[in-house]
């Protein structure tokens, strides 16, 4: 007969994983998508830049939908700590609490309030005020990422605190917020959002073009997003390298698991692919590049990498982080190839040597619409599973923090969430393509006059009347 508390633990883990995986899908789009919208609005300086405004109007609808899903799943997250992981707040509440509080105070209210103006106020405020509102929403979503990553990074590499009677007490807030892994993880996540939004825009725009949309707006959006992706992906690879160096220093068990280094070695090979076997502690069917792991992680071909043998019972499960990391990198390499080929073709178009991007490339972009999601989720799974068994490294383990609510209750809540999320995810993706298809057919998108337009019309009427 299984330990009932263990069932609660397993179900709670699955529930938290489901909640947070569903949640991250949406901010990973909306953070950067809002910055794209700011860019579109800034390029629209009034009459004559209509195409930028059309791109804005199409993408702001998708932004609104994405943002709404992010908000509602985020509210769920804010309750999850209390409902399923009371040990977390009891142990590190003095640190987690204020960081979450600042997120609500400085980010949530800002983005939520100005979102109303951004989405529904274009005919009630000046163009400048509207652009400012858009900018404030983008700033709000970025601040949100700042606080959450600060807290999440503190859980990975905690500093600036002391333990008294089993509870963490803050000593230095700057050290807590700007903990060792935070700058790398924040930069990495923001660029990840950039890539996710870029490929979403590119994919949907390519879809519209393939569906014979003849208008210039999707081509403009495609160009903007492909160029953005081509710039961001090498930056991301560089940031990933820095992040890896940081992880090696502060979380060696995680790195050992990611690279499936079973025993400490110098000049460790880079395992491109294998099937790690926890029982025999070896990698089957390994395809390796000798010395590469040491080179990448320590920048020295004979650098030492600590193996999992150094962390008995205190290391994460190897398979999920091993495969997760390779999925993330694989998608990254694909993004690099596709975006750079895309830029090459765009240059030819600009020089007049091509009319349009090739249909095969457009189809690839459509196929990669949600590639950002795959890479982002894979990366998050690596970092969060990679921290196990710790909830906060060296302070409290995940299993010590779980609730005592009976497993049956967790089973009920888990079922409700899974059903909701499955339905909403399908509805979201379908609606994106419904909106894309609709825009192909209309000549001009449903527009309401901006305040400037209204004033212009009125001035015209007065002039013709007099």
């Amino acid at each position: 007969m299984s330990d009932p508390l263990l069932d609660t633990l397993l179900l709670s883990r699955i529930q938290f994983a489901a909640n947070i995986s569903f949640h991250i899908l949406f901010p990973s789009i909306s953070i950067a998508l809002c910055w794209f919208l700011v860019y579109f609005k800034l390029r629209y300086k009034g009459e004559g830049d209509d195409v930028w405004m059309r791109a804005y109007r199409f993408w702001v609808k998708i932004f609104a939908l994405t943002f709404a899903l992010g908000v509602v799943s985020g509210i769920t997250m804010s309750f999850q700590f209390g409902t399923n992981w009371p040990g977390y707040m009891e142990t590190v509440g003095n640190i987690a609490g204020p960081l979450l509080g600042y997120e609500v105070l400085t980010a949530f209210f800002l983005e939520a309030t100005f979102l109303g103006i951004m989405l529904f106020g274009i005919n009630r405020v000046s163009n400048r005020m509207h652009t400012i509102a858009t900018l404030l929403v983008a700033f709000g979503t970025t601040m949100s990422a700042f606080w959450i990553i600060a807290l999440n990074s503190w859980m990975q590499t905690p500093t600036g605190f002391e333990m008294r009677d089993g509870k963490a007490y803050p000593l230095d807030w700057l050290e807590i917020i700007f903990n060792p892994s935070m700058p790398y993880r924040l930069a990495h996540m923001l660029v990840a959002s950039g890539l996710t939004a870029a490929f979403l825009i590119a994919g949907i725009s390519a879809y519209r073009i393939l569906k014979k949309d003849h208008k210039p707006a999707p081509r403009l959006a495609l160009k903007t997003s492909v160029v953005a992706a081509a710039i961001l992906i090498p930056v991301q690879i560089f940031l990933g390298d820095l992040h890896g160096l940081n992880s090696l220093e502060h979380q060696p068990a995680k790195v050992a698991a990611v690279e499936a280094v079973w025993k400490t070695e110098k000049g460790a090979p880079l395992v491109l692919f294998a099937i790690p076997d926890a029982k025999t502690q070896e990698n089957k069917f390994a395809i390796e590049i000798p010395k590469m792991a040491s080179l990448i992680l320590t920048h020295d071909v004979n650098g030492e990498i600590k193996g999992l043998n150094e962390f008995p019972n205190a290391h994460p499960p190897v398979a999920p982080v091993f495969y997760g990391f390779r999925i993330m990198v694989g998608v990254g390499v694909l993004m690099l190839l596709v975006s750079w080929i895309g830029v090459w073709q765009l240059r030819l178009i600009a020089k007049g040597r091509r009319q349009e991007m090739s249909p095969w490339l457009l189809k690839i972009f459509v196929g990669m619409t949600f590639s950002g999601w795959v890479a982002t989720l894979a990366g998050w799974y690596v970092t969060e599973i990679g921290r196990q068994p710790w909830l906060v490294t060296g302070v409290v383990t995940t299993q010590d923090a779980v609730t005592k609510v009976p497993a049956s209750n967790v089973g009920i809540s888990l079922t409700i969430y899974l059903v909701l999320y499955a339905v909403l995810l399908v509805a979201y993706i379908r609606t994106l393509f419904v909106m894309a298809n609709k825009s192909v057919l209309v000549d001009k998108p449903n527009e309401i006059e901006t305040l400037a337009d209204q004033l212009a019309t009125r001035t015209q009427k007065v002039e013709t009347a007099s």
Binding site: A68, S73, T106, V125, P170, V405, T431
Partner: protein, 339 residues
């Protein structure tokens, strides 16, 4: 409680400041999300145009309104973590139902306008159901909390009563919002809805006011055991006077009274305020009734001070730009075009 009067300085005052902050956050939430959940509950089956206008009246505000809930629960989390754990442990399933309701209502805003046109009616139903689920569960949770998380038939019955009362209350303030923000047929319907919900809410308030002191001797003592009773009687007196005045106003509403169309909404807000003050008075200084005082469950002063400093700067800013936003959307609700 006596040993806590030994606490001085920040250890004594910080928890009081924070329970005040938490109360403020939940109060503002009840007014703001109260009206938009109320509007959702009132969505009529038979008129798409009315539904469109009703949703247009709350469209620009719902997200920011909901954020006050996150702030409230956030302050509970930050300032009183043991209470937070206890509360969410006991309210596990109702919280899940509330979250499901809020999720459904939130996404229905967008999906109704952007998904396939023949799905719009379905999303409108989901909007209504989501609003109802969120409201009923909030009322139920309030009832269970008031009963100190006792698990008994008595608690379940009281919580169910509370659920109906809060639903009536939110519907009432939602209808009053519509009286302020709409015109013509819809406004007239809103006056009728407001009157009905107002009386249902009044019944609920009376019932809760009777049951509360009846089940809890300490609450009975706080209210009836001292001369403060005379001062406290202002609470029900004000509530019922406003309810009555509002009812008369709504009954006789016509275009001549249009410039006072804000009166029912403001009355509703004051009634909510009075109810909150009543609850706060009944329970202070407990954050979990009869189990945990604010001093027993408070966080370390270092954390409280860190967040207080920020709050003092940021909260007024939030209130300022919130007012700015409501001013931009002042006047009657116009057609909402997503855009």
């Amino acid at each position: 409680m006596n040993e806590y009067t030994q606490l001085t300085g920040e250890a004594f005052w910080l928890p009081i400041i924070f329970i005040g902050l938490m109360g403020l956050a939940f109060f503002v939430y009840a007014i703001l999300d109260g009206y938009d959940l109320g509007v959702g509950i009132l969505l009529p089956k038979n008129s798409e145009q009315h539904r469109d206008t009703m949703i247009a009246s709350i469209g620009p505000f719902w997200d920011a309104n909901e954020t006050w809930l996150v702030l409230g629960i956030g302050v509970l989390l930050i300032a009183f973590p043991t209470a937070h754990s206890l509360v969410l442990f006991h309210l596990y399933l109702p919280v899940t139902v509330m979250l499901a309701g809020l999720i459904l209502r939130g996404v229905a805003f967008d999906f109704r306008a952007k998904a396939l046109p023949d799905h719009k009616d379905l999303w409108d139903k989901i909007f209504k159901i989501g609003s109802l689920l969120a409201t009923l569960s909030q009322g139920y949770m309030l009832g269970i909390y008031v009963m100190g998380f006792e698990s008994s038939l008595k608690s379940i019955l009281f919580a169910s009563l509370s659920a109906v009362c809060v639903t009536a209350g939110y519907s009432y303030i939602g209808a009053c919002w519509l009286v302020m923000k709409t015109e013509g047929d819809l406004q007239r319907s809103a006056t009728r809805w407001a009157r009905k919900c107002g009386w249902l809410m009044a019944l609920g308030l009376i019932a809760v006011s009777i049951v509360n002191p009846w089940v809890s001797p300490s609450i009975y003592d706080k209210w009836f055991g001292s001369p403060t009773l005379l001062l406290l009687m202002i609470i029900p007196t004000l509530c019922f006077s406003l309810l009555f005045a509002s009812d008369r106003f709504l009954k006789n509403f016509s275009q001549d009274l249009e410039s006072f169309s804000w009166f029912p909404f403001i009355s509703a807000a004051i009634i909510f305020l009075m109810s909150f003050i009543g609850l706060a008075y009944s329970f202070f200084p407990y954050v979990v009734p009869n189990q945990l005082t604010i001093w027993q469950s408070a966080s370390a002063p270092e954390s409280l001070k860190f967040i207080l400093v920020g709050s003092v700067v940021v909260l007024p800013t939030i209130i300022a730009y919130t007012i700015f936003s409501y001013r931009i959307f002042r006047g009657k609700a116009t057609q909402l075009k997503y855009y």
